[in-house]
Structures are given as structure tokens and as C-alpha cells.
């Protein structure tokens, strides 16, 4: 089973990202589960969302404490939230930032990967919403999921032009990860 923890702020679409990841994983022929850790629902508050991906139906209902992968939508969270908490040593932490991985002094053996998703979002979508883009980067950085499945999930969730642009941004983020390897 692969466990993914998404850190974001209320309003950044972390719960939607977790959901889209579950939909895409299912399209890849796997079982999946996505759920939020709801706090007080307000914009800007730190929130977490979780996705599990497995070959069998997922029975486990606890939150994720030892994630294989962590996605950080907003690098300013790192000052207040221990985003690396419990991350598996062989795991990966994907951060949305313009800075390079060595900028971040995280207490973890997991590999830190960065992508300037906000820039991609502004260039392609025209708004600084990065949740779908980070899923493209996730697919590129981990190989856990087909980028086409992410794109399909995104296009299904956001029909029309919004979905098309998001899908394009997903592919761009995916390609950038591939180029870095």
C-alpha cells in the first residue's frame, strides 16, 4: 500500500487533490481511498488530506502517520507544520516552491523534490491554484500513477476550458519531473 499525505491551506484544493489522486489510481486499476482531516473550515488554515493506493480494497481508516509520499502545496507551511513527520526514509517530499530542495532543512531521510507549481499555474491557468499541477509532478516524480489517469480525472472533475488548462498544466509539471531524472 502507498500512502500519500497532502499539506495545504484551506482554499488551496488539498481535499480535491486527494480525491483526484484516488480517482486516477482507480482508473489505473487499483483500489484507493481519499479523505480529509477537517479542522475548523476557513480559508488559509493549515489542513491535511490523505490518499491511500493499494492492490486490494483498503480497510484501514486511520490518518496517515508514515507516508510514502508527502505533497506540500504551500512552502510557508513548513515554518509551522512538521510536513516531514513520519515520512518513510525511502519516500519523497514534493514541495511547491521556486527554491531548490537544499533550501529546506527538513528533519527527514526522505528525498525532497521541489517544483515551481505556482509559476506553471500562473503561466498556463492564469491563477495560482496548484493542486492539480502537483499531481502531475507527483506522477512524474514517483511513477506511482499514469499521468494520463491524472489528466482524465482532472478533465472529468472540471469540464470545459478550466479542465483543459489544468490538464495541460498537469502534463507540463509531469514533464519537468521527468526531465530532472
Amino acid at each position: 500500500m502507498k500512502e500519500i499525505r497532502i499539506h495545504g491551506r484551506g482554499g488551496q484544493g488539498s481535499v480535491t487533490a486527494a480525491e483526484l489522486l484516488a480517482v486516477a489510481a482507480f482508473e489505473d486499476g487499483k483500489y484507493s481511498q481519499a479523505f480529509p482531516a477537517f479542522g475548523v473550515e476557513r480559508r488559509g488554515a493549515p489542513i491535511m488530506a490523505f490518499t491511500r493506493i493499494n492492490e486490494q480494497f483498503i480497510r484501514l481508516r486511520s490518518q496517515i502517520y508514515e507516508p510514502d509520499y508527502v505533497i506540500v502545496q504551500d512552502a510557508t507551511l513548513i515554518e509551522t507544520v512538521d510536513v516531514a513527520s513520519g515520512a518513510k526514509p525511502a519516500g519523497k517530499i514534493l514541495i511547491n516552491t521556486e527554491f531548490s530542495p537544499d533550501t529546506f532543512d527538513l528533519d527527514t531521510e526522505a528525498e525532497v523534490i521541489t517544483i515551481d507549481a505556482t509559476r506553471i499555474a500562473l503561466d498556463i491557468i492564469g491563477r495560482p491554484i496548484v493542486n492539480t499541477i502537483l499531481l502531475g509532478a507527483f506522477a512524474g516524480a514517483t511513477g506511482e500513477i499514469k499521468v494520463k489517469s491524472i489528466q482524465n480525472a482532472v478533465e472529468q472533475r472540471f469540464p470545459g476550458k478550466v479542465g483543459e488548462k489544468n490538464s495541460q498544466a498537469v502534463l507540463e509539471a509531469y514533464n519537468r519531473m521527468g526531465a530532472g531524472q
Binding site: 484516488a22 481511498q33 479523505f35 502517520y65
Partner: protein, 397 residues
């Protein structure tokens, strides 16, 4: 699993189940505490997807359930959904629904009650309605909850039962989860669930009185007959599960579902979504040679006494897990009921109770593992503490 799976939110799956059960009246109060269930149903209504149905948007939960009492008495198939404080506000009216033998179906999305203010999951809300005369069913996952919703209509509307039923699902953990589920097919649901055909209805052409005056010469017999309805419901819950299996190919046990229970020394008992986590911990413990198993309790009212008798008779210890507390007794409801159901039997098995997951406190596998360790210790050296919190944070006290 038969049928085509799709990834949807738990609340959506339940709304879909309600839709294909062809309700005639849905009534709900759309403000917190509420879920996407009634929002999705409202959308289905607006899209014309639920024929022959009226959606009544009311001003409180008290009104929601009151409206359904009137509707159900006229022979309508009725549905509502609520949580925590909303359910508590219904309390008085719940007795009327059951006393008038109206098979209203209500999803209870289990959430903690205030104060202190909490929006998160536990079972205090529905357990606090234990004696209102409603059937109470508890589901482990979205598929079971979807399927149980259709089963509930069939059980409640059986002419020998005629009782309202709460179908309970864990708030957030299940209501807000996205996971693959087979949404109930309309054709198969129609095959499974016949139209509601009550023997007695409110009808101006043939006037009858419902919920009328019963003086001391007759009141007791009404209560006695409600209990008879519950007794019959035990068999009907099993039958509904069997009938459902024949048509849909899915089955989760009838009154209870044993898991690795046959040769278990340590037998855990629980209701709701924590059951899934427990099953994973059991698999792990079994691989280390620890003989632990589980009894999932699917129906809390009627309480499946006989099924539990036969399920626990060979265990060395029974351990209940409760997301609720009776303050003043320091016990969760399942613990109290299991002890009570074993007392005058010839089964002599010790019972330990753990309360956990209150107010949404997460239940990681390590908490379940700790409970198993304590149970193993109690087999060796006897029970030191009968009932306690498994996840108390001493540093806050």
C-alpha cells in the same frame, strides 16, 4: 464484487441509495450539522431524478422528523438524515415515530455532541437515542452503508416489524471519504425492495387515528408490541442481508460479522468504520501467531444477544471498543450490553471495555495493538481495570 465500481464521496453513495429506493417524502434541515447527503438528494430532486417525491426543506431537525411522521402515516416512503445535535433535537419526536410504528429511514452520520463544541466523529449521538424504539444499524464502509440503506427500508417496512430505523455511518471517516463503490442499480433495487404497502394509513375516506391516547389499561401493551417488532426484526435483518446477497452478490454478515473469530482467544467487538482498521491489525497479529479475532456488530437495536452468545462462547476474553460513554457508569454502550447479555447465560468469559475515538480522536493501528496487548495480559493475570479509555492524553488532565 459484482457491478461497476466508481470512486465517489461516501455521502453521494448514500444519497444515490436513497434515490433508487424511490422515497416519496424527504425532509431535512440543511444547516450544520448536516452532510452532502441531503444536498445531493436536493440536487437529484432539482434534476427531476426522483419521481413521485416531495422534498420538504424545514426549519429544524425537530420539524424534519415531525414532517416525516405525518407523511409516513399516509403511506409514504420517508427519509431524512442528520447528525449529533440535530439528532438530539429530534429526541422527543423519535418516540412518536416508533410508537406509531412508522418505518421512517434516517441516516445518522455519527458525530460528537457538544459541549465542548466538536464537529468530529463518535457514536454518542445515536447511542444516546438507544431507547427511542428505533432500529439501529452500523456500517463499516461505504459499500456496506449503501447496501444497508436499501436493506433498512425492507426491514423497517416489513409488516411484522413496522419500526423506524437509523442507519449509522461514521462522520467524516465515512461521510467524506472517496473510495470505489458499486452504486446501487435501479433495476436490482426494484427487484430487492418492493413498494411500501402498509396495512394502515391515514386516509380521509377511511379515517383512522395514529398515536392516540392510551390510558394505563393499554399503554404497556403498545410498548410490549414494539419489543415484539424488534424481536421479529432480528430475523428480518438476517433475511434482508440474504435476499440482498442473492440479487446483488454482496454480503457483510447478518446481525454480526465474525472475522478470524472461530479459534480466537482474544475476541474484539466493535461497530462502524473502526472495524476496518481492526481487521488490518488482526491480520498483522495473526501473522505473529496471536490468536485474535473480531465480532463486528451490525445491529445495536435490536441487540443480537443469541448471535453474540454463540460467537463468544469459546473465547478466552472479549474486548469491546466503544466510541461513546455513559458518564456516571464509565462504560461504553457495547461493553454494558455485552456484559448484560452474558450474565445469565452459561458462558463464562471475561469482558473488558475500551473507550476510544471520542470527538474524532483518530484511531491508529497502534491503539488497537495496545488493546490487544492489554487483553493478552488480562488472560494471563486477570482483569485489573474493567473499562477505561484507550487513548486518554494524561498530559492534558
Amino acid at each position: 464484487m459484482s457491478g461497476k465500481m466508481t470512486v465517489v464521496e461516501g455521502s453521494y453513495a448514500i444519497a444515490h441509495s436513497v434515490k433508487v429506493c424511490r422515497p416519496n417524502v424527504i425532509s431535512a434541515y440543511p444547516i450544520t450539522p448536516q452532510t452532502h447527503i441531503v444536498e445531493d438528494l436536493s440536487q437529484f430532486m432539482a434534476d427531476g431524478e426522483i419521481p413521485n417525491c416531495e422534498y420538504i426543506n424545514v426549519e429544524s431537525e425537530f420539524s424534519a422528523i415531525s414532517a416525516l411522521i405525518g407523511a409516513s402515516a399516509t403511506g409514504a416512503r420517508t427519509y431524512s438524515s442528520t447528525s449529533s445535535q440535530g439528532l438530539e433535537l429530534m429526541h422527543e419526536v423519535l418516540f412518536n415515530a416508533s410508537g406509531m410504528r412508522l418505518p421512517i429511514i434516517m441516516t445518522v452520520v455519527n458525530r460528537a455532541v457538544s459541549a465542548p463544541i466538536s464537529i468530529w466523529n463518535d457514536h454518542q449521538d445515536s447511542i444516546s437515542q438507544r431507547d427511542t424504539g428505533w432500529i439501529q444499524l452500523y456500517a463499516e464502509n461505504i459499500q456496506e452503508m449503501s447496501d444497508m440503506t436499501a436493506q433498512a427500508f425492507k426491514i423497517a417496512e416489513d409488516k411484522d416489524v413496522m419500526l423506524p430505523a437509523m442507519v449509522c455511518m461514521d462522520g467524516f471517516i465515512l461521510s467524506h471519504v472517496f473510495e470505489p463503490v458499486v452504486l446501487l442499480e435501479q433495476e436490482l433495487t426494484d427487484e430487492f425492495l418492493p413498494p411500501y404497502d402498509p396495512e394502515h394509513v391515514l386516509d380521509t375516506r377511511n379515517p383512522l387515528s395514529f398515536g392516540t391516547f392510551a390510558d394505563p389499561s393499554a399503554y404497556t401493551e403498545f410498548r410490549y408490541l414494539q419489543q415484539k417488532g424488534m424481536d421479529v426484526a432480528l430475523g428480518k435483518i438476517e433475511k434482508a442481508a440474504d435476499d440482498f446477497k442473492k440479487i446483488f452478490g454482496r454480503y457483510y454478515g447478518g446481525l454480526i460479522e465474525p472475522y478470524m473469530a472461530e479459534d480466537a482467544d482474544i475476541l474484539l467487538m466493535a461497530m462502524g468504520s473502526v472495524v476496518g482498521t481492526i481487521k488490518d491489525v488482526i491480520d498483522k497479529a495473526r501473522s505473529q501467531g496471536i490468536k485474535v479475532g473480531l465480532i463486528k456488530v451490525r445491529t445495536f437495536r435490536p441487540f443480537p444477544m443469541e448471535a453474540i452468545h454463540s460467537a463468544v462462547s469459546d473465547a478466552a476474553i472479549v474486548v469491546t471498543l466503544d466510541k461513546n460513554i455513559s458518564i456516571g457508569l464509565n462504560e461504553g454502550a457495547l461493553f454494558t450490553e455485552v456484559k448484560s447479555c452474558l450474565y445469565n447465560s452459561d458462558i463464562n468469559v471475561p469482558v473488558m471495555g475500551f473507550m476510544l475515538g471520542h470527538g474524532g480522536r483518530d484511531i491508529p493501528m497502534s491503539t488497537i495493538q495496545m488493546i490487544i496487548d492489554k487483553a493478552a495480559q488480562a488472560i494471563k493475570s486477570g482483569i485489573k481495570i474493567e473499562s477505561e479509555y484507550a487513548d486518554l492524553r494524561g498530559e492534558l488532565l
